[in-house]
Every structure is written in C-alpha cells, then in structure tokens.
C-alpha cells in the first residue's frame, strides 16, 4: 500500500510511531496528484507550501507536539480563501484573486499541523451538482463504467475525486444543499455537513449564507471525526458561529448504538425511486437494527416543499452575496469600449465573469426578492423552511436519535449527460439533502454499497443539532456493518 492510500487515522498513528514522516507522506500525495491530471481534481497546486508545512510538521512530531492532523496532507476546496494562494471559487470572475487572509477553517487545520497540497475543483461558487459549472472544467469521478467518464458530483466534486482517488488523505468541502454529501456518495467516501454554526464561515466565499457549512470529506467515519474536530469551533468573526463547546468526536465512536431510535421518513420514499436505492436503504436500516437500534417509521410532512423552498432561499441569498463581484476592486474586469460607463462595466464584467448556472441563480434570486414577488416566493419559502425545521424538531422531541435516508436518488451519472436537461433535473440531485440545510442539522453520507453498474451508493444519516458525535457514531456503526471496501481502479495512471 502506498502512503497516499492511508486513512488519516492510520497515517497519524504511523507518524507518531515514526514509521513514516510527513515529508514522505506529502511526497507520496504530491506524486499521486501529478499523475492524476485526468481527474482534474486539483486546480491549483501548492507543493512548496506542502513541503514547508510537512517539514514543520516533522519538527513538531519530533518534538512530541503532534496534534491529530500533524503532517496529514489535505486538499482544500477552492471556495476557502487561503492566504497568498489563488482562491477563485472556480469562477472566472475571481480571476487572479489571491486573498490576504486565511479562512478560519483552514487556519485551524494548519494550526493543528495539516499540510495543504493545493486547491480543489468545484462547481462555480458551489452552484451545481456535477462539478461541470467550474471555470476549470469538470473534475472526473475516479469511478468509471466501461469507458464512460462520470461526474464526481458537486459542488465539492474536486474534493470527492481527490479523496476517492487517494490524491490526499482528506479534503475540505462545503455544503449548502448537499454539496458534501452528494459527491461523497458518488465517489464512495464519507462526507459530513455539521450543524449550521459549528464551523466558521469566515473566509469561505459565500454562496447562501444561511445554508453554507464547511465539513470534512474523508475515506472513513473516524477520519471525518478527526478532521471535523480541527475544523469546528466558535469564531467571533462569524456572528452565526455558535459558542458551543466542541466535544471529542473521535471518542464518540464507541460502536454502541443499542437502544437508539432511528427514524425512517416515509416522505423520502420518492415515486420512481430505483429499486436498488430502496434496497440499500432497507439494508441500512437492517444493519442499524442488528446493531441494537430501534427502527421507527416517521413523518416529515413538509419534505416535498423543501426543494422548491431551497431553490428560492439559496438563489435569493446568492444574488445578494454575489453582487460584490463587480470588477471594481478585485478579480475580473471586462475591457470597456468607448463611451462605456459604470453600468456597462458591471454588465460586461458580470456577463464575462459568471458562468451560465451562476447567472441563472442570480437571476432567480433577484426575481424572488423583487417588489411584488417577495411575499409569494421569498417569504413563503422562509415559512416553509420554518415548517421543515419544525418537522425535524417534533421527530427529535419524540425521541428519535437519527434519521436514515438515501444520500442521492442515483449513483454518479455521466459527464455531459445533463447538459441538455432541464436544470430542475440537476436540482433533483439534492432532494434528500436540502432539508438538512434548511433545518440547519448535521447530516453525513456513508458509502453503503455498489449499484448494479458497480458504482458506489451512499446512505445519509441526519442527526440532532449539535449532536455530531452521536451522528458520527451511528455512521461508524453503519460503516462497519456495510463493510464497504470497494476502491476504484486507478485507470488515470495508465497512459
């Protein structure tokens, strides 16, 4: 086994034992990245920074000061601002932008010794479910059917591809409507979106502020616990960050869920759901039952309104959040013609700098907030959001500890397959995940099996607010029981 194939927990132990060094580990990842151009996962490489951080990590290890992530090579989603390193949110409008500041999450990761290999591909401004809206072109799923290239999902597609392809040991993702969990499911890895407010949003390029949360994408549940530990915590720079202590997530992985109550929401049984998804879901429930949990049917009656509400709230916030990209202060500015004024500068800059999907959502968001439509769309969506949250509150109040659902309606689809489809088809990818963002809850995607094509499928567990430890433990049990061990063939190494 090469070093880059290790889990974070394995690498941590090996480093502490002195079986390997951060420099070696980092070197293995850098060389894996170099050979994985076909995956287009990394859009900006930072080998110098990585080597420097690895050397520093080796010093710390030698000195016996080795926090959990000391010397662990990670990939960072391009949505995170990293000081002095291009941070473009995979958008043309942020062309050449190198922030003078470090996001809180990456600062915390580096403070606990993590090594940054580079910036990861994603959908532009995290808007998309296939990584195809990226200005860098799409990332590619390491899993493949015959010769057909598949999407790694989105928006954290580069993160998912990089972790599944063993280019890094873990990666940061962000999740506004499923952007961690869907790509994790598509690539057979673990991805957790913590409770809204658990990780600081400071320094993360905003998509929809009331929904955005950062989270780890890793090979195992234990790795997710280790990495989330370093990412989480109160940040006075983010008013929506919660001043709540961060428990020891890894210590929560007891594997004991006896007596826990797992809810199966009947509204998630969508019409036309593929039989293999339904079977996966049932199998997952059975595994948790076998582990001593009680499985109960629950109802989340407003589920069917979640997707439309999400596609009002998220674009509304995005239309406002993206107004700052105007060509005045940083990033792309269009060349102006004779007589062009400020209005033309805005129009040309934004037309050139934003891709089609971003433009679509800015238009939708502007529309739903406009006078005369505000109440019918935005306000109604806010009310629906409150009802969705209440659905969950009631279920948890009734004693349910976690909720089990499929993570996605299908396995990874082919790149370009959705190109001519109605955008709503693409939005349907989020059908199981958006409710969790609207309610601000923690949700985790765990690889649970392969479909008939041999592609990974994930199950989603939804937890109580601030109960990530408990949620991770449920996921850990599911992971152990499912025993998902399949790995993609490294086809990109040939030729």
């Amino acid at each position: 086994m090469s070093l880059n194939e290790l889990t974070i927990a394995e690498a941590r132990d090996a480093l502490r034992k002195g079986d390997t060094t951060a420099a070696e580990l980092t070197g293995a990842c850098l060389s894996a990245i170099e050979k994985a151009g076909a995956l287009n996962a990394f859009v900006h490489h930072t080998p110098e920074i990585a080597q420097e951080q690895a050397a520093a990590a080796d010093q710390r290890l030698k000195a016996g000061d080795a926090p959990a992530l000391c010397g662990i090579p990670l990939g960072i989603k391009d949505l995170f601002c990293t000081r002095g390193v291009p941070s473009q949110a995979a958008s043309g409008i942020l062309e050449g932008f190198r922030p003078e500041y470090e996001s809180t999450v990456t600062r915390q990761l580096f403070a606990s010794g993590a090594v940054m290999l580079g910036k990861l591909n994603m959908d532009e401004f995290a808007m998309g479910s296939s990584n195809e809206t990226s200005v860098y072109g799409n990332a590619v799923n390491p899993w493949k059917v015959d010769d057909r290239l598949l999407t790694p999902g989105g928006s954290s597609g580069g993160s998912a591809a990089a972790v599944a392809g063993d280019l890094c040991l873990g990666a940061t993702g962000t999740d506004t409507g499923g952007s961690i969990r869907q790509p994790a499911a598509f690539t057979g890895i673990v991805g957790i979106k913590p409770t809204y407010g658990r990780c600081s949003r400071w320094g993360i390029v905003a998509f929809a502020s009331s929904l955005d949360q950062a989270g780890p994408m890793t090979k195992t549940v234990r790795d997710a616990a280790i990495m989330l530990q370093a990412m989480a915590g109160h940040d006075p720079m983010d008013s929506t960050s919660a001043d709540i202590p961060v428990p020891d997530f890894e210590a929560a992985l007891t594997g004991d869920i006896r007596g826990k109550k797992i809810g199966i929401p009947r509204e998630y049984r969508m019409e036309g759901m593929p039989a293999e998804i339904e079977k996966l879901w049932a199998d997952g429930a059975a595994m948790l039952r076998d582990a001593g949990a009680e499985i109960v049917d629950i109802s989340l009656p407003h589920t069917k309104y979640a997707l439309p509400a999400y596609y009002v709230v998220a674009p509304a916030e995005a239309s406002s959040n993206l107004a700052r990209y105007d060509g005045v202060r940083y990033g792309h500015r269009a060349a102006l013609g004779k007589g062009d004024g400020i209005v033309e500068m805005y129009e040309k800059t934004r037309a050139e700098g934003f891709g089609k999907e971003v433009q679509r959502r800015v238009m939708i968001g502007t529309y739903v907030l406009s006078a005369g439509f505000y109440d019918a769309y935005y306000n109604r969506a806010r009310k629906v959001r409150a009802l969705i949250k209440r659905d969950f509150d009631e279920v948890f109040a009734a004693g349910v500890d976690a909720i089990l659902t499929p993570a996605t309606p299908s396995s990874a689809f082919g790149l370009g397959e959705m190109a001519s489809a109605d955008p709503v088809q693409m939005y349907l990818n989020d059908v199981f995940t958006v409710t969790v963002n609207l309610a601000g809850l923690p949700g985790i995607s765990v690889p649970a099996g392969l479909d008939q094509k041999g592609l990974p499928l994930g199950l989603q567990l939804i937890g109580r607010p601030w109960a990530e430890g408990d949620l991770l433990n449920h996921a850990y049990v599911l992971e152990q029981a499912a025993g998902f061990a399949a790995r993609p063939a490294k086809w990109w190494l040939e030729g």
Binding site: F80, A89, A316
Partner: protein
C-alpha cells in the same frame, strides 16, 4: 424635575398661491453619523480626513468570505439616542440588506434595519421662540452602514472611490410628518443636532456630512392636515417629494420654500405633483428631479443572513439610561425655574452643552444666575465672537468670570469698573479680586468722601444748581461729574442719594 417648559404650538406656515392659501406638511429622515471610533461592522477607524482608502477593513471592501460583526458601542449609542428622544427601545431588532449597485457600495448592499429597527416611537420638542414649540413625533431610529465616496472630477476618463466612510455607522432618525414650515424644519434639525451633541452620540458636524437630512415635502389646503391627524389618512394630503441629502439648515429652509412654491404652482395650474426624489441646487436655489417613482430602485430588502437578530437586555438598556446627561429641555427649564433666567437667556445658554457647563461653573462661584447669565451672554460671548473663539478657547475661566460677577454683586466694583476688569482678565489673566485690590479699582462707598466730592462740584457750579432745582432730571449731571472725578470708583447709588439730598430734591 421639570422635563420641559410649558409651550403652545406655532401657527403653521401659510403660503399664498395665485388663487388660494396653502400649508406645508414636512417629514424628515436625518442620517446622523454615530460618534464611534470604529465602524458599525468592522474595527476600521472612522477618523475624518484620513488618506483615501486607509481606514478600510477587509469586510469594508467586501473581500470574498468576509463577514460583518456588530460593534456593541454603536448599538449603545443608538440606544442612548433613543432614550434621549424618549423613544421605545426594541430589545430585539434585526438587520436587512438593501441591494443596489454602486462603486462606493462594495458589498452591493447596505446593511440596514428596514423591518425591525432598534428604536421605536419618540418625540422632539422643537423650540420656535419663548413659549412656542412644535412637538414632532419620531417614528423610528435604525442603524445602518454609510457608503463610501465616489470622486468623479479627478480624471477625465476615470472615477475614483474612497472607502474610508464605507461601513461607518449611521442612525437614520425618521420623523412623522409633523413639521409645518421651512423654519420649523430647520429648527427641528437644529434641536435634533443639539440633543445628539448633548448625548455625545453624534458630533453633528454638518460640513463633514456627519448630519444629513432627506426632506419630504407636500402641500395641502388649510384644514386638511387636521383631517389627516384625525383619521391617519394620508390621501387628504398632497403628493410628497423627497429632497435628498441636505447638509445645511439654511439650504433645508430654502429648498422647502422653493419646493412648496413649485408644488403650489403645479396644483394651481391644474397639474399633478409627481412623487419623486429631488435634489436641491444651492447655487440656483431650486430643486430638480433626480429620479421618478417609476425609476425608483427595487432594493430587494431581505434579512441579512450574516447577522443574527440583535438581542439586547433591559438591564443593559437600564445601565445606559442611568448614565444619561441632563438634556437641553430639562436644563433650560431648570435655568428658568431655579436660576430665574428668562427663557430666551436659558435657550442661549443651553444651545451648546459647553456653554451651559461654563455658565453653571460661573454660577457656582458667584451664586447669582441672572447676573452670571448677563455676563456670560453679553460680555463673554460677545468678546469671544469678536475674536472667533469657541467657549473652549476662552481666555477667561468660569472661576475668573465668577470672581468678577461676585465683586459686582458684593458692591466692591461697579458695572463700569467690572468691564475694565473683564478686559484686564481677558487680556492679561489673573485673579479678579487681587487685580481690584492691587490696582485700586474698588468702589468708594465711604459716604464722607463722596459727600466732600459732591460738595465740591456743587460749589463750583452754582448755575447748574439753580437749573437742577427747577428741573430735577438734571441731578444726573452732578452724579456723572462726581463719578468722573472718582475715576468711576464711587458707588453710583450712594452718589445719587447724596446729590439728591444736597440739592434738596
């Protein structure tokens, strides 16, 4: 303690049109820059006049991923202002985004409080002269960010942007349409400014743009306003126009005057006033259309998702209330009731809190409010004004002026000598009592000495004595002669008495 002196409402201003008389209905939205060292949502400095773009935090420049964090001090200042305007404080308020594109607005939105302002209904008593004042209701006060500054005249092809002011905290203070004339509008701004300065929540510097007003003006026929007040139905009033961004009380008055006449002319010609935003051009003395209702921006207000609702505790509000200074109305009432001042003098002395403080320090030394008021207003202010000094730069301290007044009060010096003494203290400094002693300026009240002096004058002017016996008013001539002979030091009252006695009047 008295809140304010009794008053009656002024008559609304009437303007005669070509056909009939008209009245005005005016409401103001005042933007007052919060006195604070740091901005509303960032730690950047608010110092005026700094190098362009030097007081700019990452969040002020709307760098990607940057987030606003509320400045608690600015919230306290808004609460203090609300309490000063006897307004309700909303323990829960919230911030909204007002979206529009402009280069001096880096975020593409202004963070403001549309739906849930921090301060609710209050009032301001606008003084229009002794015993006359207009009670103007305050609808609300909310906190919001100021924009930066676009500079269009530095380059023929480019505009420049200075973000120093971007994100500085403003209080928008919204009045009800209770103001009934141009003078009242100017007086309203003056009174509001005075209260804010007393509170220390805004420095009120209008030249620097720290206090600016948007003025809503409409016209109505006499009697219509009363109907509106009774029913709350604004449709009985005329269509209003908003004159934006005025930073001088004189211009406010001129603009309203012009705007009222413009609207009257339109209506009397059978036309309709369009609801629109207008700008006042002080050079031409007229308002002109800036944008019509149709062109009005759709600001797409929605709750700012980067900020949680602002929740404050009653105990915190109470702490602020406990440190409130005495405000102008109460101070004026006290000066009238307790110190026996005229309302006019009390108004002059309370106009600026520094003046009132100076005056009170003088009274503390001399224990005579009326005499102190005379000397502060007439002598000191007159002299300071002549030299262009503020009270803070006065060469005469309250202790010195109090000493002078005390010498007058005790009869040690006459009013005339006191003026000389004031001049000496003003130009040379020193302790008034010591100067009087050292320079022999003390008033002569030795009756024997005065009698001798009177006798001498009478003896030397027999013709005048005869005339004075015919016409007692001429006794004053003898008094003047005696005072002159004493170098002004003889006590005039004593001289009067003795002259009258000697002349047998």
């Amino acid at each position: 303690m008295l809140d304010h002196l009794a008053f009656s409402a002024p008559e609304p201003k009437r303007i005669a049109g070509a056909r009939e008389d008209w009245e005005l209905v005016i409401g103001l939205e005042v933007h007052a820059q919060v006195a604070s060292n740091a901005k509303l949502f960032s730690g950047a400095s608010t110092t005026f006049g700094a190098e362009p773009n030097s007081n700019v935090a990452f969040v002020d420049a709307a760098m990607p991923g940057m987030l606003p964090v509320i400045n608690e001090f600015c919230v306290a200042q808004a609460v203090r202002t609300g309490l000063g305007l006897k307004a309700g404080i909303n323990l829960r308020s919230a911030f909204d985004r007002k979206n529009y594109f402009y280069p001096d607005l880096p975020q593409g939105y202004q963070i403001s409080q549309l739906y849930h302002p921090i301060v609710g209904e209050g009032e301001i008593i606008v003084d229009m002269g002794p015993g006359v004042a207009r009670r103007v209701r305050i609808e609300r006060i909310h906190l919001e960010q100021d924009a930066g500054k676009s500079i269009h005249d530095m380059d023929p092809n480019m505009s420049f942007v200075d973000l120093n002011r971007t994100g500085v905290a403003l209080m928008e203070i919204v009045s009800r349409p209770d103001i009934r004339g141009p003078e009242e509008a100017a007086a309203y701004v003056a009174k509001l400014r005075q209260i804010l300065r007393y509170l220390g929540t805004c420095d009120g510097n209008m030249q620097n743009g720290n206090l600016r007003a948007d003025v809503n003006v409409s016209i109505c026929r006499p009697g219509d306003y009363e109907k509106f007040i009774e029913t709350g139905d604004a449709s009985v009033l005329g269509t209003r126009c908003e004159i934006k961004n005025m930073n001088s009380m004189r211009f406010i008055q001129q603009a309203i005057e012009y705007e009222a006449r413009r609207q009257i002319a339109i209506v009397e010609d059978g036309g309709k006033v369009d609801q629109e935003t207008r700008l006042y051009d002080p050079d031409k003395g007229e308002t002109r259309s800036m944008r019509s209702k149709e062109e009005a921006h759709d600001y797409r207000y929605f709750p700012c998702p980067d900020l949680l609702p602002l929740e404050i505790e009653q105990a915190w509000v109470d702490d602020i209330a406990a440190t409130m200074p005495e405000l102008p109305d109460a101070k004026k009432a006290r000066f009238v009731k307790d110190l026996g001042l005229s309302e006019y003098d009390a108004s002059v002395l309370t106009a600026e809190v520094e003046n009132a403080d100076y005056f009170e320090a003088v009274v503390a030394v001399c224990a005579d409010g009326k005499l102190a008021a005379n000397w502060v207003i007439n002598e000191l202010f007159g002299r300071l004004k002549k030299e262009g000094h503020e009270i803070g730069a006065s060469p005469v301290s309250p202790a010195q002026l109090g000493g002078i007044v005390k010498l007058i009060k005790s009869g040690d010096i006459s009013g005339k000598i006191a003026k000389d003494l004031f001049e000496i203290v003003y130009t040379e400094g020193g302790d008034p009592a010591e100067i009087v002693e050292a320079r022999g300026m003390k008033q002569v009240t030795d009756l024997g000495a005065i009698e001798t002096a009177v006798d001498e004058i009478i003896a030397a002017n027999p013709a005048q004595v005869e005339k004075a016996k015919q016409n007692p008013k001429l006794a004053g001539w003898f008094v003047g002669q005696v005072l002159k002979a004493s170098g002004g030091k003889a006590n005039p009252a004593a001289v009067n008495e003795i002259v009258a006695k000697k002349l047998g009047l």
